[in-house]
Point group: C2
Chain length 581, copies 2
Amino acid sequence: MSSQLYELHPIAKRSGRNDARTEGQHAREAIVQGLMMDTPLLVGGILRHAATVHGRTDIVARTVAGAVHRYTYRDAYARCRRLSAALRSLGVASGDRVGTLAWNTHHHFELFYGVPGIGAVLHTINPRLYDETITYIVNHAQDSWICIDAATLALAERLAPALPSVRGWIYMDPASDLPKTSLTNVHAYEALLAAASHEAEWPEFDERQAATICYTSGTTGAPKGVVYTHRSLVLAALLMSTADMIGVLRSGDSEAAMPIAPLFHANGWFMPFTAPMNGQKLVLPGRHFEAAALGELIDGEGVTAAAAVPTVWFGLADHWHGRGAGPASLRIALVAGSKAPRKLVDELAALGIPVGQVWGMTEVAGLRSTLPPGAATRPAEEQLVWRMRQGRIGYGTELRLLDDDGAELPWDGEAAGHLEARGPCVAAGYYKDAAPSTTGWLSTGDVARIFPDGSIDIVDRSKDVIKSGGEWISSVTVENAALDHPAVLQAAVIGVEHARWQERPLLLAVLRPGMETQTSADDILAHLRTRLASWWVPDAVSFVDELPMTATGKVRKAELRERYGRPPVADGAPAQRAALG
Amino acid sequence: MSSQLYELHPIAKRSGRNDARTEGQHAREAIVQGLMMDTPLLVGGILRHAATVHGRTDIVARTVAGAVHRYTYRDAYARCRRLSAALRSLGVASGDRVGTLAWNTHHHFELFYGVPGIGAVLHTINPRLYDETITYIVNHAQDSWICIDAATLALAERLAPALPSVRGWIYMDPASDLPKTSLTNVHAYEALLAAASHEAEWPEFDERQAATICYTSGTTGAPKGVVYTHRSLVLAALLMSTADMIGVLRSGDSEAAMPIAPLFHANGWFMPFTAPMNGQKLVLPGRHFEAAALGELIDGEGVTAAAAVPTVWFGLADHWHGRGAGPASLRIALVAGSKAPRKLVDELAALGIPVGQVWGMTEVAGLRSTLPPGAATRPAEEQLVWRMRQGRIGYGTELRLLDDDGAELPWDGEAAGHLEARGPCVAAGYYKDAAPSTTGWLSTGDVARIFPDGSIDIVDRSKDVIKSGGEWISSVTVENAALDHPAVLQAAVIGVEHARWQERPLLLAVLRPGMETQTSADDILAHLRTRLASWWVPDAVSFVDELPMTATGKVRKAELRERYGRPPVADGAPAQRAALG
């Protein structure tokens, strides 16, 4: 079938045109490069925007001591540039790592701009890690300075002798509060700023330059450093700011955003960038993550969107139920870090607070799992289906599902597979670590289903999923079913080796105070049988006093597997109370 | 003032650390490059996202003949890649320009992806330009193929002999409708797609490669080509999709977006990119810009956000007032191209449709002028103040105001100055034209005020502002005041040379049909005196039958100045009916 309709026509011949010319006979003049300004995407531009357009909008932060500090984006911008000048005066140069052992204070916020503003690399460190882990991370990153506060001073003193790359310390709380310390070369943050001769103008440089480094708080293996570029942070903040995130992020003046997750966790879930980008009021809880203190700040500052892990939200829900009312201002509870249990969604719903789950990970910056627009007006059952998922895939990060053999799986809401990600906000590798993936895709370590509408259901971590008789059992699903039982406070499900089925699930449960004597393993199992396929019901329940947790509220399952992952769990054996070590 | 708090401490000495080391003594190991995936920002990824996540969402477009064509993003994605394969089979290669003389059809939409998808450059041409201008533009851009439809066939036949770079034509309407034509090497679009052997996989390439080229429809001088990169288009679409644009763009399933501005105008105001990026239904009016046809499509497809120039909105407002009701679905009327007159804002408000003004220009892609969030709930007078401005500056493009001497002016809502722009979505120069600005800023050619909250008021075009006695008079303000008079249908104000005051304003007005005999120049002047400072009131009013307009509805003021810009307009001379040539 020829698609050419008409042959050479006399008029064209007269005009000297010749359609018999082949492609090569045309002098080709290609426009390969466009002609737009080559302005780099740099983190500093976000705060500059906030300072010029939203200059009077507040940043409110508790200090380590608990006082409320309040200033504007305009003030913060000036102080961040003064900080940059001070860092330079200390010899900090482009590419140098500046570490932080700090909580969610305004000083910590300032470091998010003052350090990358001059091309140095902000390295936020989780102070709740084991001493040896922090030592490993600082030595691996070769931090040149570390910023600390009253809450992390003792930790710093303990670790300092083993940190030879550290040239000095910056103490962010009032110098007058600093006790005699074993640390050397300690500078007071405020004195450094006061002594700085000027507010630095942030230079322009390649947007692929490193801006921040976060080590994954892995539950196994050595921590690995994800090195974010300015480009990736700006794009991540943009992706998380789109209208498609309407269920999650709202615009400017009408939003007060509060990252309850620590700022050292995956760039504070990008809120230090998304809030100023959109002119949102930013509320930071300092180190005060207790429910009462958080609740007071949410009420007092009219917080409309806050982000935390399920454990923190459970505490807040208890607090609000205790006083008989939720906060008037809060329009969405963003749940990330791990999947929101049904119980949490219900408890917050009873307070009038809808849940928005956000899936992401240190290696996948700014992935937007979004609620569908208009979700709030849909029937309750439909809303619940949505709220139990981790939202819908937004533009900017591609996802795919693979089976164990690497074949791609359909997005039918049925097939569960290994979730892989790709895009400009996805890690290409780890700092001084193994070579990056050769496939061009990052393996997220999650097992997920994707529905035809692009919504995601994270089934489990690949390493936590239980393989039983050739099929997968989601430990997360079984845990959430267990949490529905009124007596269960915390739950963890692990696979235990099994001769016939390869693995069988074991439930480790912490009971609510006062419920220990009136709750049996059989009660729990009977409850689970009403909610799960029979072969998903654990073979045993062990009650424990507590579960080992990471600083971000995740259960250390590797530790549990180490301890409980081998038999004896006889096929069909009665559930038993585990001996507690 | 020393900021160092503590001197060297014995423990540190024991550990071998030495704070007297200078910076140079540390073996510096800089992290200059980050470790994120180097995935380029390419236009094709936007449609791929829509096809995978919003695959069932509709694109609805009128054909040139007026029929309604409906398909999904999934269908469109497949057809666009088939188009890419077809273009390659015609010899179109990376960097080649493919022109279009076309209206807002689904074929035109497909070209927005099928052409840049393979690295070729889409050149959208305004078919309403003068023949000589189109000839100039095509020869300047060296288009290799031009896509046409039934409405532009005659134009193409007329111009073809003067367009030696054009190797052939692609006819997008049904081949069966094509009359005998003088064009040579004409291919039918649908036949090309049917004959294509496959759906091309779009390759990855440098995001700074050219994707589209638009010539500015300048009212004076030779047209100039703005060459957009893939990077700039993707970023522009992202900037225009942020939550801060909440008053303008809404998310996904709940939005049906309709660019009434022609797709050849500044990338269709980016709606061909923002709609699929956010999963919005896209509604295209074909070539049917008459109020009745537009109104029918808005009602029938439930359009929620439409964008057009004031002239088109005036027509729609008349249409809706005529039938006694506005469209139920439309939640915002986006006005761009020129400033919305107060009269338009009022007329649409009376129909229950709020106006959102969007400032932008061909050279400044994706500048977001946004309504403040919550605007809709503010008192009417406050809302009006906002709606009469061109919104608030969003993240991603920096703006500044300069006086005639190049000194920067404050954002105090008072000082008016030349508006300059800078950012990754701003043109660095023009294709084969003068060297780019050495200041790093683009002169927009607009005179504006910026308020402390970052909102903008475009006062005038720099070349249209009237300089009288050393002060500026905004021609736009005087025009809008004239349009408030019930008899005035159209108005243009230009400066006329004046011995004493350098320039004085002259109002050229088109009266509404039937009002000619009952309206005098004195009536108009008396009306203006109640609305303007006395020295802003024109010295004369000339009634004309029509004003010369560009294809996008802008008055050709250069033409008016040429004709009316010299005296006699005596100081204080009575207004007169101009002799019409």
